[in-house]
């Protein structure tokens, strides 16, 4: 079960909603923020806490792109592949990252430092090509910028 301190935080979140179970998304965000992923144990605990079935928690975790059940690298690249970014050279950015990191989208480097995702439109087409480095938006990408980010986070 969750610790008492944890439960206190979760109670604050669920209090805002008409039904406890409606708070599943914010609860998952909180757990992922604290633990870096949603583990199977966490799914079980969340289900007990919200009084819903484990399978319901799992189907929600697997439906939404932002929840993940494996640990990401310390620095996680989420690079946009949709139209506006692709028109401004997004594909070359993705290719360059694959080459520099030696991994394909969905993978993490063996040292755990970097991971790469290719995502759909991030809502920042004015600074295309764009990505999220962990949660930070970084736009007007070019190979030099990518190299600098990799060197800084090595």
């Amino acid at each position: 079960m969750f610790s008492a301190e944890y439960l206190q935080e979760l109670d604050k979140i669920t209090a805002k909603y008409e039904q406890k179970r409606a708070a599943l998304l914010p609860v998952l965000h909180y757990v992922q923020h604290k633990e870096g992923l949603i583990s199977q144990d966490a799914e079980q605990n969340i289900a007990e806490y919200l009084e819903i079935s484990v399978v319901h928690v799992h189907e929600v975790v697997s439906f939404y792109h932002l929840f993940h059940q494996t640990k990401k690298g310390q620095y996680h690249f989420s690079v946009c592949q949709t139209t506006a970014c692709a028109l401004r050279g997004g594909e070359q950015i993705i290719e360059h990252l694959k080459e520099r990191l030696g991994i394909t989208p969905g993978q993490t480097t063996p040292d755990g430092k970097f991971s790469l995702s290719v995502v759909e439109c991030l809502g920042a087409c004015e600074i295309a090509p764009v990505m999220q480095g962990n949660k930070e938006y970084i736009g007007c990408l070019n190979k030099k910028k990518i190299d600098e980010i990799i060197d800084k986070n090595k």
Partner: protein, 419 residues
């Protein structure tokens, strides 16, 4: 030209409470709560010709009037900030640069529809806009603009900010309701419409962030003023998001009815490198693509509909003469394949088939009948699904095929794979 929704964007600390208060902030909310009846607020918004700026363009005041006031159930306002339509990035600016404009709009809307609770659904990736809104909500509570007996009236309003988790489909209003109830975002069958059976089974109004941000200015300056800013039946300005092959990509607030040509060439600085225009998406990726001979169209819901496309979410994506349209269609189809929620089989299966089919054509491994097949797949998704996502796929991908058919045919002729 008078700016409305973006009037504070360029100011230093535009997001701050003090900055908002300086410019007659919350005066419209006070006016509505103390001098107007809910019915007169709805009337004013109807007369302003404000339309839903998330993409559907439904008249906002009319939508509000669908709420059954006699219902004993609680009523909800849900603000859709799950901005995900490719090419669209305007709501992010409102949330981040002027969150109090949204909150003031929420107060007035809640009063108009008799709701004591509003949810704002912000897309999961928008961390900074989310934090800006959370801070603003806290400030509004402290000032007595939210909470119990708002602004000394007898009206209570609570606002909950809800963070999405990265699913495009949750921008569809009924999928958004499901998501707010803690479920995966599967759209609901309509009817019943959310105005009658919405969030937690209660009457619910769902409006886009930009739509709600227009409400306070309408109450402040009047419906007539707002209606006159735009064109016939399309009141006010719009935040147009311009991206792709232009010199100055960005958000431009311009009157409804501005021509697409003016937006591209006068405001966004024209096509990159002086290249020729080849195609342009006028209202987010789901809007059928236009060719250069069509860009004198007026950018409003009715004019765009009349030429077979849509104003959608205001996302304009420009493509120059160097763009391979089969490649562009493949990227669009991939988007739909990745974001289909999987509830209806025509969309779940068809989106993947369409993507793989176009990919074969693009990569030169197509079979001679692939283009005919593709049209068959694409045309059998729209109209056969619960939500408009399937229709969007049909309209979007279908428009690439019909308008740039020779490019598809040439690819097949040139590089067709021996069977």
């Amino acid at each position: 030209m008078e700016k409305v929704v973006s009037r504070h964007f360029d100011q230093e600390n535009s997001h701050s409470f003090i900055n908002y208060l300086k410019d007659n902030g919350y005066r419209a909310a006070r006016k509505a709560l103390t001098q107007m009846t809910p019915a007169s607020v709805i009337d004013e918004v109807k007369k302003s010709n404000l339309r839903g700026l998330g993409g559907a363009g439904f008249p906002t005041g009319v939508k509000w009037s669908f709420i059954p006031q006699a219902s004993p159930k609680p009523k909800y306002l849900v603000v859709n900030g799950d901005e995900g339509e490719p090419g669209t990035f305007k709501d992010k600016y409102i949330l981040q640069q002027d969150p109090h404009a949204l909150i003031e709009g929420i107060i007035i809307t809640c009063y108009a529809i008799g709701s004591h609770k509003a949810y704002v659904y912000v897309r999961g990736e928008y961390e900074k806009p989310l934090q800006a809104l959370l801070t603003a909500v806290e400030e509004a509570y402290k000032a007595g603009f939210l909470g119990q007996a708002v602004m000394g009236s007898e009206f209570d309003i609570d606002v909950v900010v809800h963070q999405g988790a990265g699913a495009y489909i949750c921008g569809e209003e009924t999928a958004l309701l499901e998501s707010l109830e803690g479920k995966k975002g599967f759209p609901r069958l309509k009817p019943p419409f959310p105005a009658v059976v919405g969030l937690f089974g209660c009457p619910t109004v769902i409006n886009n962030v930009e739509t709600i941000a227009c409400v306070a200015p309408i109450i402040n300056k009047g419906a007539e003023w707002f209606a006159k800013l735009g064109c016939e039946k399309n009141g006010g300005n719009r935040l147009f998001c311009v991206s792709g092959h232009v010199h100055k990509p960005g958000v431009y607030e311009l009157p409804n009815g501005t021509t697409l040509r003016a937006i591209i060439y006068e405001h966004a600085g024209g096509v990159l490198n002086g290249n020729k225009l080849k195609a342009v998406i006028p209202g987010g990726i789901s809007a059928p693509i236009l060719t250069p001979d069509q860009i004198d169209v007026k950018m409003d819901f009715d004019s765009l509909k009349a030429i077979g496309t849509m104003a959608g979410s205001g996302g304009i994506i420009v493509m120059d003469e160097t763009t391979d349209m089969v490649w562009a269609a493949m990227i669009a189809a991939r988007f739909y394949a990745n974001e289909s929620c999987g509830q209806c089989s025509p969309c779940r299966e068809g989106s993947g088939w369409a993507y793989r089919n176009i990919k074969r054509i693009y990569e030169g491994t197509a079979r001679p009948y692939d283009l005919k097949n593709l049209a068959g797949i694409v045309n059998n998704i729209g109209g056969n699904t619960i939500c408009p996502f399937g229709d969007a796929l049909t309209m979007c991908v279908g428009s690439y095929i019909s308008k740039f058919r020779s490019e598809f045919e040439n690819k097949i002729k040139e590089r067709v794979c021996p069977i």
